[in-house]
């Protein structure tokens, strides 16, 4: 069944989405760094996070950020593995690890955001 694992379909939708999410992340990640990590005095107390999380905008922002960031990172990682000829069992194991860990950490992140 997975004899040609990784070669089913052309992979074009993933390729296009990788570029679209990438363009979004260029703006968002560099912006995130300047907003959150450039001022040593700002934003990193529990009170500051609580205040920010009261705005639905920042909740939506963080949910989008986690979803798009994880997907782009893991789709890229799978793209690297796809370049190598792997035995089906190895390929399936790596794909499984990527999918399962991706879902697990997405749930972990979403749980943190929605706990406010």
């Amino acid at each position: 069944m997975y004899k040609h694992s990784g070669s089913r379909g052309s992979g074009a939708p993933g390729w296009v989405l990788q570029r679209i999410t990438g363009i979004l992340l260029v703006v968002v990640v560099i912006g995130h760094y300047f907003v959150m990590h450039s001022d040593p005095a700002s934003g990193h107390t529990y009170a500051a996070v609580l205040a920010r999380m009261h705005h639905p905008f920042w909740k939506m922002f963080d949910l989008t950020f986690i979803t798009v960031g994880l997907w782009h990172g893991l789709n890229g990682t799978w793209g690297i593995f796809r370049d190598y000829k792997m035995k089906p069992a190895v390929s399936l194991t790596i794909y499984g690890i990527i999918i399962l860990s991706g879902i697990a950490f997405w749930v972990l992140g979403v749980n943190t955001i929605l706990s406010f």
Binding site: R19, L25, F34, S38, I80
Partner: protein, 138 residues
């Protein structure tokens, strides 16, 4: 389709033997920084789960993350972000615009813009130690 046999020198040696020009290094760096950033997003998500354990747990953790060692690591991580972001834009320009005609010039822009913003971020992050350094010179 049968699996192709290993190259006589093994995969690693064969890969290392290829001639590498600017573009090959850009490609290699893009993959390494991409894997690094993906690993980091896992760490980032996990580290922030202390937010669910209340104020004290989170503020204690932030005390560790605001020590000089972590501040420097935070700054160095930005270099991965900058390279991957700007080289990513370069890839999109090559794929969707006329980037293939000037991809080497774009690479110079990628590195140049990256260095400028990296130093800029360093100045912002370490504004206090830098100010103290100059104050002691006076």
């Amino acid at each position: 389709m049968a699996y192709q046999p290993k190259p006589p020198d093994g995969w690693l040696k064969t890969n290392l033997k290829y001639n590498k020009h600017k573009g090959s290094w850009a490609w290699i760096l893009h993959r390494i920084t991409g894997l690094g950033l993906t690993a980091y997003i896992y760490v980032h998500i996990y580290a922030l789960t202390t937010l669910t354990q209340g104020e004290q747990a989170f503020d204690n953790e932030m005390k560790l993350f605001t020590t000089p060692v972590f501040k420097v690591l935070e700054w160095l991580l930005f270099s991965l972000v900058l390279y991957h972001a700007f080289n990513g834009v370069r890839i999109v320009l090559v794929d969707w615009a006329d980037g293939a005609k000037y991809h080497k010039k774009l690479l110079t822009v990628v590195y140049g813009l990256g260095v400028v913003l990296f130093i800029g971020m360093g100045v912002l992050m370490f504004r206090e130690p830098i100010a103290n350094m100059f104050a002691s010179l006076r």
